[in-house]
Amino acid sequence: MLLPARAPRARYYADGGGPTADAMQRCLIIEDDAENAGYIAEGLRELGWQAVGCGDGLDALGRATRESWDVIVLDRMLPGEVDGLSILTTLRALGQRTPVLVLSALAATDERVRGLKAGCDDYLTKPFAFSELAARIEALVRRAQSGEQLREMRVADLRVDLISRSVERSGRPIPLQPREFRLLAYLLMHQGRAVTRTMLLESVWDYRFDPQTNIIDVHISRLRSKIDRDGERPLIHTVRGVGYMVSADGPGKPP
């Protein structure tokens, strides 16, 4: 099955074009710090999202359960009686499967584990770069939508067979090491969207630590040398300040 073509936006998307209002994705931002919430909402709106901020725990819980959202960004520490994790637990207890990304200043592993146990889909530590947040939100939405098991992925003339784990470009087979294959598959899974180095390290290598050297860059450039030969259209692109993206058309220009 081929991935459905989706409306890409701004510079996180490979091809330009604006979304229509009814196709707009909705994000609920549950965060008590108004400035931070505004910063996230503004960034998401630039990317074509409909973003709604909510600073009160009880109110947020009501909106999260009553309305339909594509993704919820949830701050762990909220003032008042209802804290972030209890909102999450309640949502999950009600059978709500909306992807939730937890934002927290608590970075310790057991805090992260507590968040994941409560049912969050991703955990991001404050302070964060907006690009990291945006890439992760996109990945969450994508994951929630592609429920079916993929057999094959394509971008331009590159074909990745997930069953036989083989890769070919214009009929030319490209031998890859297992880790290179996972790296390419992950990039293709999120094609048209930027993925960050941390996301790659977490998903492809399963490491939660941050290596000192830019190891990911070196791996990408090695993969790139195998995929994008001289004279071929480049498919693996660097998104400045964010990470990498696979797309047929190159990273979009900033609006």
């Binding site: 970075a107 310790a108 490491y207 630590f209 290596p211 050297t213 190891i215 090695r222």
Partner: protein
Amino acid sequence: MSVALTRWWTSIAFRQALIYGALVVLTMTVLLVVFYAETVGEWQRRIDRQIDATTQRLVEYDARQGMDALAAHINGLLGDGVDSDTEVYVLLDPAGRKVVGNLALAPAIIAPRSGIIERYVLRAGRPSESRLRITPLGGGGVLIVGRDMQDQRELESLIGRASLSAALITLLMAVGGALLFRRQLEHRIGAIRLTAARIERGDLAQRVPISAHQDEFARLSDDINTMLDRIHALMEGVRHVSNTIAHNIRTPLSRILARLRKAQDGRNPATELPAAVGAAIAEIEDLNVVFDKLLQIAEVEAGARRQSFAPVSLNAIAVNVLELYDAVAEAKGLKLTHALDHEPMTCGDGDLLANAMANLLDNAIKYTRTGGAVHVDTRRDAAAVTITVRDDGRGIPSSERARVGTRFYRLDRSVPGWGLGLASVTAIARLHGGRLVLEDAEPGLIARLVLPAFDSA
């Protein structure tokens, strides 16, 4: 009074001493009772034997010589002045009349019976408690032989009183001892409590005074002082770390501020501001990384991650981290080789151990010149497993080796980094009950991560 009693009773020293005292009193009482029974009882038995012997002798005398001769003999015995304070003899004729004797008789007691009886009688005109043996004679008369027990009773009460006062004195001594013991103990514990109170008030330099006796309290005080020294050292360490952290965070913060202010006040805000903002963002991102790493070290040092420990293979960790770094080594033109031992297992957190090895490998690659070689091996010994990363770079002078594990210590400030890598490795090694060993590879550095072996058997 009752308040004082409650206060005493809550004192374990007082209670222990009192219980001990009660035990002593009990032992003493048992001892006295046994002593009393043995002395007084034995004496009485001796008297009874004597009465029996005399009775037997007099009965035989009667059988041989007749009652008149017996009467004369008894008369002689009564008058000979031997035992005259205690002896009792009475001879009755068959009609029940007294022939001779020193008792005023009540008729009720004359009836012969077996054994020795004890009666209040009038002996020589005064009341006396006597032990008597009443024996019928062959000719129809009755013989009474006995002994006045007055002196015996006096002795008994004397011994009884003596025992009682002994018991009382023992009890008093036990209570007094308990109080004294309590005071002694309170005095010794008081010194420790006083020190604790002073430390609580904030004087951390206080130590428990050590007395000259090498007793339990001296040893306890010694232990407490050692503990206090350790806490003091740890707090000094924390203070040092906070100071270093403050320095390493304030310095970039003031750089950022200075640059932004300069740009704000500068002549060409249009060109200076974007550059200053860019530099500020880069510095803040760096600070963020430093924070993350510091928090991670703190988390590792706190030890909470021990809960998720599981058996892990050092080979699997080494292979994965090598794979992560092979592209970097290749790009730098380094020869990255490895040799793996058979199944070196330890019990630990795989992610942290990979992090530690990544740090070691990162350093090795960073400090090795292009064309150099980095070699990784794993090894299994009886009690320990080891990951070794060996490079042929410039190494670390032996004088610096002890300090490279401390936070923010950097040997070469021209190479990018934060000086937290080896501090992190050291913390991870300690969390796993292992250690980081740095040696000279001549040239280069050997970094060994030594961990306790996990034995699946």
